[in-house]
């Protein structure tokens, strides 16, 4: 994340694409649960990033910046996809919250399926932290929230994952996160 990029330089954006695209793609795969949708969102995110590349400021890492665009697009994509399906809409009216039934995940405890049941912002925090190795500050820059909100999201994501996955699967207590647990995270 510490690579030097020049805002507005097409060559530097090509370099950013080569290094960040696989990581962004995997983040979106964890959020969306489908490689085709992840690729579509990732490409759209790089298109949007390329249009705004001249306005990028080096105070935030370029990969975190493009991650922020990609996560926002994944959130919009999941929201639209959820509203497109009538069954999912009815399910949402009857049981607001998750688009995928947690009981279905419990019968087939797959980690990516479990991540898909999480709200996109929580899933993104988990992937950025435990797969890409971002710290709270970098996650905050990538998601456009404060570090305290990042800690709250990580804690709530861990609680939901622990409820869905194998109880023997080790997740440390929420107190391990440094952020204030009393803060409520902003979820749509």
């Amino acid at each position: 994340m510490g690579e030097a990029f020049t805002p507005g330089s097409p060559d530097d954006f090509d370099r950013l694409y080569q290094t960040a695209y696989p990581r962004v793609f995997r983040t979106l795969s964890a959020i969306l649960g489908d490689p085709a949708e992840a690729e579509d969102c990732a490409q759209d995110a790089f298109v949007q990033g390329f249009q705004a590349w001249a306005r990028w400021r080096p105070d935030a890492p370029a990969e975190a910046w493009i991650h922020r665009i990609a996560v926002n697009r994944a959130i919009s994509y999941r929201r639209r996809a959820r509203l497109r399906t009538i069954g999912e809409t009815l399910r949402r009216l009857g049981r607001p919250g998750h688009g995928v039934d947690p009981a279905e995940v419990a019968t087939r405890p797959d980690l990516l399926q479990a991540l898909r049941t999480l709200p996109p912002k929580l899933a993104a925090a988990i992937v950025l932290r435990h797969y890409h190795g971002y710290n709270n500050r970098e996650i905050a820059a990538a998601l456009g929230v404060s570090e305290r909100t990042v800690g709250t999201r990580l804690r709530q994501a861990a609680e939901r994952l622990r409820a869905m996955l194998d109880p023997a699967f080790s997740l440390e207590p929420p107190s391990a996160f440094s952020s204030d647990q009393r803060e409520s995270y902003a979820e749509d």
């Binding site: 954006f13 995997r26 790089f46 435990h130 797969y131 890409h132 970098e138 080790s170 997740l171 391990a176």
Partner: protein, 164 residues
């Protein structure tokens, strides 16, 4: 990429997450952010062909309008000419009347010939000819023949009613 500040979750979770996400291989298709520029280049390359097609369409439309008159201007002109022809319809039908007029004029010409030849002359000529012979026999000329004239006109020679 800096190291993680702390590791709140166990290593089992991270390894499981890593193995799950590493199985997902990104498909390195052509970057979509390069597509709009290429599309713009293609559009500019097609611009002469598009302009030529538009010129051909304009020429064909103008030629069709000039030849067949399907354009609104030609239709309006035709409508105006039709209205003008309808408005002057009585003037145009007069040439058909001479075929009927001679039939009506023949008895009109024959009738004066049978009645009297005096009616053939215009009526203005009759007063001009008739007063001339009567003007010599006017009462103004009769004054000159007063001595030889009649006796009943002047009461001077008549006896007075007094009986002197």
């Amino acid at each position: 990429m800096p190291k993680i500040d702390d590791s709140p979750l166990g290593p089992g979770f991270e390894s499981r997450l890593r193995s799950a996400l590493d199985r997902v291989q990104p498909t390195f298709s052509s970057p979509r952010y390069m597509t709009p520029a290429r599309r713009a280049i293609r559009v500019w390359r097609l611009a002469p062909a598009i302009l030529a097609a538009m010129a051909v369409l304009a020429l064909s439309a103008s030629a069709f309008a000039a030849s067949s008159g399907a354009s609104p201007a030609v239709l309006i002109h035709r409508a105006a000419s039709a209205i003008d022809s309808a408005a002057h319809a009585p003037d145009t039908t007069t040439p058909a009347e001479p075929s009927t007029e001679p039939v009506q004029q023949e008895p009109a010409k024959a009738a004066p010939a049978q009645s009297s030849p005096e009616k053939e002359a215009p009526p203005r000529q009759e007063p001009s000819e008739s007063p001339e012979p009567t003007s010599s026999q006017s009462p103004e000329e009769s004054g000159d023949h007063s001595n030889t004239g009649s006796t009943d006109t002047e009461p001077a020679n008549s006896p007075s009613p007094r009986g002197d």
